[in-house]
Symmetry: C2
Subunit: 124 residues, 2 copies
């Protein structure tokens, strides 16, 4: 049975929160074994736990805030709009991706694809 | 070479406009041969031109307005949030799906998956 919409939504909310304040270990824990990450869409997908961990490890040192803007959850899948604000010195960069995620029956993420381009990044 | 972001965005805008005021013929013209439609996500995908035409034909008689709310276009793919307002007597129903579309090199739609559930439909 696919994970419930409530369980999927809870993982989406936790994911967005952890992108701001979590460790790579915590984020990778949300992923199922064999999961894939394509961020941004069009880049080479990451297919190993090590590669996914290294990807999120690059966020650990950054001063970031995130906000979930809107989400649709159906049939064990989710698409959601969120915002990442990253401080770099006196400036704050805002990136606003749409992420598409699939989940296994235990609501672990089996794939993540992030839709964004340069046009979706701006100075606050 | 994948379709340009501009070409993909133009098709997304035309699609959203045609859902309100177009014919099934016009909408199906946006789709590539062999395209698939899964609306909502979790339902049996439509895999023939005839089935896709019949799906959009059900919209032809309705009094509808649509609005593209936000879109991300990257690498020949798009995800977008839009709103469909349908008048039924004195009442107006608002459905707000997130659609994910892939495109061929000529910016024809090769797949559409619509993320929405009952929770995403409301009375205006």
């Amino acid at each position: 049975m696919p994970a419930s919409n409530e369980a999927v939504r809870a993982v989406v909310e936790r994911y967005v929160a952890l992108v701001a304040t979590g460790t790579a270990d915590q984020i990778v824990d949300l992923y199922a074994d064999g999961a894939t990450v394509e961020d941004p869409v069009g880049s080479e997908p990451l297919t190993t736990r090590e590669a996914i961990h290294a990807f999120y490890a690059t966020l650990e040192g950054l001063e970031q805030e995130t906000r979930l803007l809107d989400a649709r959850v159906v049939a064990g899948e989710a698409v959601f709009a969120f915002e990442v604000r990253t401080k770099a010195g006196d400036q704050t960069y805002v990136l606003a991706p749409f992420d598409v995620m699939t989940f296994d029956d235990d609501a672990r993420i089996t794939s993540m694809r992030a839709y964004w381009g340069e046009a979706d990044m701006r100075l606050a």
